[in-house]
């Protein structure tokens, strides 16, 4: 039996096929879920894929948050289902309030498209359960608004509750505390700016994202 992972597609999303291909190469089933769907039945996990949902108008993720599918995503997350927001998906999760904080324009105001070395900072999330604490992973980033920001109280609780999942080894965008990815309190909702689905095949430069995707698939299997 394999897990079925829904890949959420808004108008302007552009990483859904990469995510689906990477998940399927690891034995999962992937199903594209369009933004106007209101049911997520039959799905064991969700990926909110990267891109430019609704053109990133107003702010990245600001309009996507009001899509019909969001209510279903919120219920899925609240019932413990694994949800991973990648890049624009992370921005959607913050805008919708499923994750705290916000993603600001990069320090230096440059669009960054490069490899980034990440360090696993917690293994108690659906995205990192199969990784090792301190493990370094080379995973590409591709964003303009990736500088994670939150107030000091939020940062304190993220640290105390072991919710900082991934940190940049060499902070490229000015994120507070070098944060590349965070989780909610239960660890089942994770947002990260780097693209693990683009680091899923050795022939494309790195397969370091595989351990993250495998963790998600394992969590989805447990839900199934």
């Amino acid at each position: 039996m394999s897990a079925t992972i829904g890949v959420i597609v808004y108008p302007g999303t552009n990483c859904e096929h990469d995510a689906a291909l990477a998940l399927e190469s690891l034995g999962a089933k992937a199903e594209l879920v369009f933004h106007d769907q209101t049911s997520l039945s039959g799905l064991d996990g969700l990926v909110i894929a990267g891109g430019f949902a609704h053109g990133d108008y107003l702010r990245p993720g600001a309009i996507a948050r009001f899509s019909p599918v969001m209510g279903a995503i919120e219920s899925f997350a609240r019932s413990g289902g694994p949800v991973v927001g990648i890049c624009n998906g992370f921005q959607v999760l913050c805008e919708s309030g499923l994750l705290p904080g916000a993603l600001q324009k990069n320090k230096g105001l440059r669009f960054l498209c490069q490899d980034a070395v990440l360090r696993v900072a917690s293994t108690s999330s659906v995205l990192t359960s199969q990784a090792t604490l301190g493990q370094e992973l080379s995973v590409p980033i591709n964003h303009f608004s990736g500088s994670y920001t939150c107030d000091m109280d939020t940062l304190r609780s993220l640290r105390e509750q072991d919710r900082i999942v991934l940190r940049y080894v060499d902070n490229p965008n000015g994120s507070i505390d070098d944060i590349a990815g965070i989780a909610n309190e239960a660890g089942n909702v994770v947002g990260l700016m780097p693209h693990p689905e683009r680091a899923a095949f050795e022939i494309l430069g790195s397969a370091d994202g595989v351990v993250l995707l495998r963790s998600l698939i394992a969590s989805a299997m447990a839900t199934a």
């Binding site: 107003l58 600001a62 913050c94 324009k105 920001t149």
Partner: protein, 83 residues
């Protein structure tokens, strides 16, 4: 009644403003030596219907908080006039 709501959205104090900082750095190069700082924000002009000014202000405040500003990092200043 028709109203115009002008909503200015700006970053909360203490939130990094890389755009403002970049503009502030460029201005002295053009001879504007007396500039200390620049803060970048957005202005929205919203045309709306309401029964009275009070209602229009409440409506504008609500839509600013729910959509126009990300209240985690931004705050809004609202000014409503009759259209």
């Amino acid at each position: 009644m028709k109203y115009l709501a002008h909503v200015d959205v700006k970053l909360r104090p203490g939130i990094a403003d890389p755009e403002g900082a970049t503009i502030a750095k460029a201005l002295p190069a053009l001879g504007f030596d007396s500039v200390h700082a620049v803060h970048v924000g957005k202005r929205f002009t919203v045309e709306l219907d309401a029964n009275n000014l009070h209602e229009a202000q409440a409506l504008a405040a609500s839509l600013a908080d729910r959509l126009l500003a990300n209240t985690v990092i931004e705050e809004s200043i609202i000014h409503v006039t009759e259209a």
